[in-house]
Amino acid sequence: MNIIVLIKQVPDTETKVRITADKRGIETNDIKWVINPYDEFAIEEGLKTKERLKEGLVSVVTVGPDRTVEALRTAVAMGADNAIHVKTESVLDTYLVAKALAEVCKKENANIIFTGKQAIDDDQAATFGYVAELLQFPSASVVVKCDISPDKSKATVEQEGDGGAKNVIETSLPAVLAVNKGINTPRYASLPGIMKAKKKEIKTYTLTDLGLGAENSKTIDSDYQLPPERAAGKKLQGDASAQAKELVRLLREEAKVI
């Protein structure tokens, strides 16, 4: 079984984000890069799937500049068998990233594809859907459980809905499953794993190798803005009963929560 995990390298959650002068991106110089946390759950689910089935190969794939190889090595240190890097120095939109990922999935004869439900940098939650559409595979997101049938032809998938609702679906395989927090606890990249990962050969493609040399992004990020600074809090005045009245009024009229 070819288990493919699509991962993205994102800025660490504690990064102080600064926007570039041309407003088309963020300053990347001093950023500490990590694997998108939702993709870590996807890696773990890929490894767990292989362990449950007692067969298969887990391949991790990412698209990006040279620095993204570090994310692949971490995934190998966690236990992935293969690492595939689509190397590009250009900034690609989700469409082109998904197209590159889909091409790799075709080359690798993917039987099941895991990825995070979204990346924590742009929060678009779009890649899994694009990839599924391009491959004409079924897909499910916010996955918190995945059981594969013994004949490996289908999977029973539990999705999380609003307010704790659960939705159980059955899908044929291959499929693209975008996982949510809570599906598992990702293991640590072990020290022996780190040693092994250092020597691991990483398969590299360029966009041209994947037949995407002439493709352009369909969207361009043109005006990044930092979120507005949080306004100062309000301090209620008067005695307790006046404060309580004012609080109820604000909750009803301004916050509209009661």
């Binding site: 570090e70 090595r73 971490t74 240190a77 293991r187 640590y188 990249a189 072990s190 020290l191 022996p192 794993g193 780190i194 040693m195 990962a197 250092k198």
Partner: protein
């Protein structure tokens, strides 16, 4: 050529341990400190992540990483909890005598099983009447046919209550002094071994510390590590390799104390402004940084020397690293409590624990005074 950068692999190791410490050690540190319960669960996870027994050579299926690997691991773990660091790191101390003095067959028999399950080893040198004067030990090993028979007591033995294997230093002839000392690999389940109670300590409260009594414990002669009379040398060569990682644990603890007090100084307001604006606080923080950075350099230097086969110079530098790291960490932790003021003296904040924990680093694995003896002896030898 001088190069202070860590390799990609070492950086990956550091990041992995840092994450492990954030997720497994820091959230549990106060609990284990309060209860002084043995952190078995955390130790098992550290073993699974491959953070233990890293010195076992590749030809035996280990990683064959040197002292620098342990230095990196211990600094990160020390920033989380020194008690757990000690419990996790002490296998290195327990197993090095066999790695250094044992035959391949002995390494296979006693050390290799540590790769397949989270076993623990304890190093048994110190005795009730023999601490800094380690050569004066009085635990005796008597030869009897194909066995040694051990009688005597050991003191302050880390992880003793949970260990699977002891490396025990005993004398075969007290008149020979250090030349009469041997090292024996002693499985913990042999008859005649009894354990004292878990000591109720000031700091590092979760690391298991006990006395051990050996009463007519029969150990096969095939468990003799090294030759007759080589025990003391094996113990000293072991300590040359473990002293620096222990020092690195103190560097990590001091780093944590500095970071906590730095953040607190930016938040705490007195006289209408954050106390970080006051030079008295700034100078304390600046001195902390100088102490921590110099101590880390000494640790890296000592580890590099040992890892590059320069044992004698490495031993000297490990004494420099241990003396400086332990003493500076105590100073840094004391100042961190000072910056926190009254709050720092309570268990609501993490710095008092660091102060209690680092005190032990000035005492165990060679007191700061013994490190000075080693340093001075080296300086004055010719």
């Amino acid at each position: 050529m001088l190069n202070f950068s860590l390799s990609d692999e070492q950086l990956a190791l550091r990041d992995m341990v840092r994450k492990f410490v954030q997720q497994e050690i820091i959230p549990n540190a106060a609990k284990y400190d309060e209860t002084s319960e043995f952190p078995r669960e955390v130790i098992n996870k550290a073993w699974e992540a491959g953070l233990m027994n890293i010195a076992i050579p590749e030809k035996f299926g280990g990683l064959g990483l040197g002292v620098l690997g342990d230095v990196i691991i211990n600094e990160e773990m020390g920033a989380g909890c020194l008690g757990m660091t000690t419990s996790i790191a002490v296998n290195t101390l327990g197993l090095y005598p066999i790695l250094l003095g044992g035959t391949d067959a002995q390494i296979e028999e006693f050390v290799v099983p540590f790769l397949s399950s989270p076993k623990l080893a304890s190093f048994c040198l110190t005795e009730p009447g023999s601490g800094s004067d380690a050569g004066s030990l009085s635990t005796m090993a008597r030869e009897e046919g194909d066995h040694f028979v051990i009688n005597g007591s050991k003191m302050w033995i880390t992880n003793a209550g949970h260990a699977d294997l002891f490396t025990v230093f005993c004398s075969t002839n007290k008149e020979l002094k250090t030349k009469g000392i041997i090292c024996l690999a002693v499985p913990a389940n042999l008859p005649g071994i009894s354990l004292g109670k878990h000591e109720n300590k000031l700091g590092q409260r979760c690391s298991d510390t006990r006395s051990i009594t050996f009463e007519n414990v029969k150990v096969p002669k095939s468990n003799l590590i090294g030759k007759m009379g080589e025990g003391f040398k094996i113990a000293m060569r072991t300590l040359d390799r473990t002293r620096t990682p222990i020092a690195a644990g103190a560097v990590g603890a001091a780093r944590a104390a500095m970071n906590y007090s730095k953040n607190y100084a930016k938040e705490r307001k007195q006289f209408g402004q954050p106390i970080a604006n006051f030079q008295a606080i700034q100078f304390m923080l600046a001195d902390m940084a100088v102490k921590i950075e110099t101590a880390r350099l000494l640790c890296y230097n000592a580890a590099w020397l040992i890892d590059n086969g320069q044992d004698e110079q490495g031993g000297y530098f490990s004494a420099l690293a241990k003396r400086h790291s332990a003493d500076m960490a105590m100073e840094v932790a004391t100042d961190a409590v000072q910056i926190y003021g009254g709050y720092g003296y309570t268990k609501e904040y993490p710095v008092e624990k660091i102060m209690r924990d680092v005190k032990l680093v000035q005492i165990y694995e060679g007191t700061s005074q013994i490190q000075r003896v080693v340093i001075a002896r080296h300086l004055l030898k010719d």
